[in-house]
């Protein structure tokens, strides 16, 4: 699958909501490529972009969401593996990143499109502290009930202070 | 009469060790079949000695009197079961006149009592695992009831042709199935033996019928809350049950004595050691029956589901035993024609 076509389709449907995109192609010879595509999307059209991706082929969420922390915002990264057709080595990584302002840490759930993402979203809620809206099961996944509210273990710079 | 009481006491004392060694042999043999080294044969005895020293924990949610009383009832009934099944036979093989005839119907009921005691103890323990185990044990009890009853009835039917008392165990020593039946009767006898061999692992709670104790499902089920001395009582009950049920199969199907088979007698000096040889022969037969019925079957099979167990017993095993019964019923008529 051509990465340009994915970006074009998304841009046609969502217009300027696509903030940036870049791709990385590693060639292994014999026409076999490892393709990774990074797309930044704003929060409003994030949900609909996943819905569009879902129509393109088999969409699989690969890891729980990593994040990058900045002064005023958090960049949440959703790594997807997208497979359009049933040929070998055709799966490409589509990595969607969304900026969320720190004073409003909220994002809409994607479990209505990719139900398998539930565990990942629950982990995001408890580890990073981003509130997932409309999540079917908001309980904590790993830390049970013994972690005090407001402590998010993977928020590195602040977690040490908040723990003490 | 005094001699008989002596024999009864000897049976109980020897029964403890024989039963535990029987379980040890079972474990060693299973290990051999699974290409392992396995525990020493005396391991069940060490287990009992260890449990004797352990603390007995009684869960706070349990019904105390029932929880502690049930293992005692189970052990007592296990001892009674062993005595009732083997006393007349042991007296017979060592050449004493037994005052007990051994009633087949009573044996059918006695077999139930240890299991019922364990079930009530499990329900009294208040553990959900134990309750599930107890429910399963009840299902197994009810499913094995029909085959056992059919086997006992057919054997009584066979004996009824003779001048002996049909429901007495003693009649079988003289009037065995194999010697006094035609081709149909022997075929029927084989089917009945097969049914009893399949009932044995179910009564002993062993794979493939160990649902009541299933370790990986409900963590030893009925026994989950027992510890220390109470657990030792349950293990002893198990040993007595293993011994008595295998002995029952031996008595029902192979009551032959060594001297009777080979026409030999042994003595050292003026003392006859034939009774000793006979008892060793009897224990040997018990070990063989237990190894076939429990060890081999548990090594080659996986645990079934409780619904499958009910089906196996209510349809397959019952059918086998009923066909066996019909064959035995037809047999004397064949001879008459």
């Amino acid at each position: 699958m051509k990465t340009e076509s994915i970006v074009t389709v998304l841009q046609n449907k969502l217009g300027s909501h696509i903030q940036a995109s870049r791709e990385k192609i590693t060639n292994y010879g014999n026409g076999i490529n490892r393709v990774t595509l990074w797309i930044s999307i704003d929060r409003e059209s994030f949900h609909s972009s996943i819905a569009i991706l879902k129509t393109m082929g088999r969409l699989h969420i690969s890891t729980p969401m990593p994040y990058k922390e900045y002064e005023d915002r958090i960049e949440l990264i959703y790594p997807f593996a997208l497979k359009e057709k049933d040929t070998k080595f055709s799966e490409i990584m589509v990595i969607i990143s969304v900026d969320i302002p720190k004073d409003d840490l909220k994002i809409r759930t994607i479990t209505d499109i990719v139900p398998g993402a539930l565990f990942m979203e629950r982990e995001t809620m408890e580890m990073i502290g981003v509130e997932i809206e409309d999540i079917p099961d908001p309980r904590r996944l790993f830390t049970g009930n013994y972690l005090p509210d407001g402590v998010y273990p993977l928020r590195t710079p602040k977690s040490k202070e908040s723990m003490q | 009469m005094d001699e008989v009481i002596g024999v009864a006491i000897a049976i109980v004392v020897a029964g403890v060790f024989a039963g535990l060694f029987l379980k040890g042999i079972d474990r060693k043999l299973a290990a051999f079949m699974q290409s392992r080294i396995g525990p020493p044969i005396a391991q069940p005895i060490y287990d009992i000695l260890k449990l004797k020293q352990k603390q007995t924990i009684i869960p706070s949610t349990s019904v105390r009197w029932l929880f502690t009383g049930a293992p005692l009832v189970a052990l007592t009934s296990g001892i009674v079961l062993l005595l009732y099944i083997s006393l007349s036979y042991v007296c017979y093989i060592i050449g004493l006149q037994s005052p007990v005839q051994g009633d087949l119907i009573v044996i059918m009921y006695l077999i139930l009592i240890p299991s019922i005691a364990i079930i009530s103890g499990a329900f009294a323990s208040g553990s959900p695992y134990a309750s599930i185990g107890a429910q399963r044990e009840m299902v197994i009890l009810m499913s094995t009831e029909l085959p056992i009853a059919v086997v006992v009835l057919s054997i009584a039917w066979h004996v009824a042709d003779s001048m002996y008392n049909p429901f007495a165990l003693q009649s079988l020593f003289e009037y065995t199935l194999w010697h006094h039946a035609g081709a149909f009767g022997i075929l029927g006898g084989i089917l009945l033996f097969l049914a009893m061999i399949l009932v044995l692992p179910a009564e002993m709670s062993k794979v493939p019928f160990d649902q009541a104790e299933a370790e990986t499902e409900i963590a030893e089920g009925v026994m989950v809350e027992y510890s220390g001395k109470l657990l030792a009582f349950l293990l002893l009950t198990d040993a007595f049950k293993a011994l008595s049920l295998s002995a029952l199969i031996v008595i029902l199907f192979f009551p032959y004595t060594f001297t009777g088979l080979f026409g030999l007698s042994f003595s050292i000096g003026s003392y006859s050691i034939t009774p000793l040889i006979e008892i060793i022969f009897f224990i040997g037969k018990v070990v063989i029956v237990y190894s076939i019925g429990v060890t081999v079957i548990r090594v080659i099979m996986a645990r079934l589901k409780i619904s499958q167990v009910a089906k196996v017993f209510l349809f397959a095993v019952s059918a086998i035993s009923i066909i066996g019964m019909v064959l035995i019923m037809l047999d004397p008529k064949m001879k008459m024609i």
Partner: protein
């Protein structure tokens, strides 16, 4: 009005059916399971958090400890991710050696699973048998890498030890041994009556559910979903094996319905596939270097100056392992996100565990080959009943104190 006759049944956190702590709460109606809930979090070891304070080479050995059985797969995915960021090209011989060790790991993992599954349904003879024949591949791995598990074979840009002529001899012997045993083993596993009675039609995961819930590995393939990172995505030497395709129960002429039997069939077939892949790699093992030649210090210094993100995906025996690393001009990664196969497959328990009997719970849970420790790899500092939280430093001091005490006891 129908009265509520269900009752709750807790299985776990510690239970003989599970080899690792995990808690299930079932709603039971008689012997039927009508509802299930899962609770993770009993084996947290803070690996992602610790990784943020280690350098790039140390992390390889840290990640081997994510899981004892997939101790090749996790560092593999991490190395692929770092090589992706840094643009390191791995020499062909190293790629082949990685493939060989990875497939030997698959061989021993699948044999291990078979034994565990047999034990779950009370078939201890099969358990003993498979674990007995598994020793051979472990011995082979020990000779190749120096260790039965936690091989420490990988480094960024290649592998650390070469396969010598002696090793090659051993590998050939091991492959012959398994080829001889394969027919007998697969016959026991796929045709035994009681095994079939316990596994057929139990714990069904349809292909649609598998796709929606993002199932991976043998769990997905057992449902007929052709998902295999080795085939979908170019990794190691797999893309040079032209005949490689995802296995499915169709290979033994059975239409997959996604029950436990199908998942078992997939694993049995993958044992055969692994033997073939190793044979291919041994025949086509190229000559050359086994790593980039730069030592650990040089590598760390090079990686320190990098900025960027990378994904590493690898097909572990249990399914897809995916690591995401973020580098930012530091001696240690800003973030490393680990996903183990059980993390994806854990959610598929929900449809599998409804409408089964209590007796099926252990085998259905085991059928995805769960590795709770892998899924549970994350943070947390333990708090006791009084709900006080203690800091990392305090915890470390406390553990040192505790182990000093233990040592003192031993000395006596």
């Amino acid at each position: 009005m129908k009265s509520d006759i269900t009752y709750p049944l807790n299985i776990g956190p510690v239970h003989p059916a599970f080899k690792e702590p995990i808690k299930f709460t079932f709603r039971i109606e008689g012997e039927k399971v009508v509802g299930a809930d899962i609770d993770f979090g009993y084996t947290h070891r803070a690996i992602e958090r610790i990784a943020q304070e280690r350098n790039y080479i140390q992390i390889i050995y840290l990640l081997e400890r994510v899981c004892g059985i997939c101790s090749f797969s996790h560092p593999m995915a991490y190395c692929l991710a770092i090589e992706d960021v840094a643009g390191i090209e791995v020499p062909p011989r190293a790629r082949y050696i990685r493939t060989i060790v990875g497939e030997l790991e698959r061989l021993h993992s699948h044999l291990l699973w078979t034994g565990v599954a047999a034990h779950e349904i009370g078939f201890d003879t099969l358990f003993m048998y498979t674990w007995n024949i598994r020793e051979k591949v472990l011995d082979c791995l020990e000779e190749l890498t120096g260790n039965r598990i936690n091989y420490a074979m990988l480094t960024i840009g290649g592998v650390r030890r070469d396969i010598t002529a002696d090793n090659a001899q051993t590998i050939h012997q091991v492959l012959e041994y398994y080829e001889e045993l394969y027919n007998r083993t697969s016959e026991i596993l796929l045709d035994d009556l009681t095994l079939r009675a316990r596994t057929e039609g139990v714990g069904i995961l349809t292909i649609e559910q598998a796709e929606r819930l993002c199932a991976v590995g043998p769990t997905a393939r057992g449902s007929g979903l052709m998902k295999d990172v080795r085939v979908d995505y170019p990794v190691n030497a797999y893309y040079e094996i032209l005949w490689l395709k995802p296995v499915s129960p169709r290979d033994i002429g059975k239409e997959p319905i996604g029950d436990v039997y199908d998942r078992m069939a997939v694993r049995v077939l993958e044992i055969q596939q692994a033997i073939k892949i190793i044979q291919f790699c041994m025949e086509n093992l190229p000559e050359g270097d086994i790593n980039t030649g730069s030592g650990a210090v040089k590598m760390i210094n090079a990686l320190k100056k990098l900025e960027g993100e990378g994904v590493g995906r690898y097909e572990a025996p249990r399914g897809e392992v995916c690591h995401y690393v973020i580098l930012d001009n530091q001696e240690h990664p800003v973030q490393i996100k680990v996903k183990a196969p059980t993390y994806s497959n854990g959610f598929t328990w929900a449809p599998m565990l409804t409408n089964i009997e209590i007796a099926d719970i252990p085998i259905v849970v085991a059928s995805i080959d769960p590795c709770v420790a892998c899924a549970d790899r994350m943070t947390y500092v333990q708090a006791d009943g009084s709900r006080t939280t203690i800091s990392w430093e305090e915890l470390r001091a406390k553990s040192i104190q505790k182990y000093k005490g233990v040592r003192r006891q031993w000395m006596k």
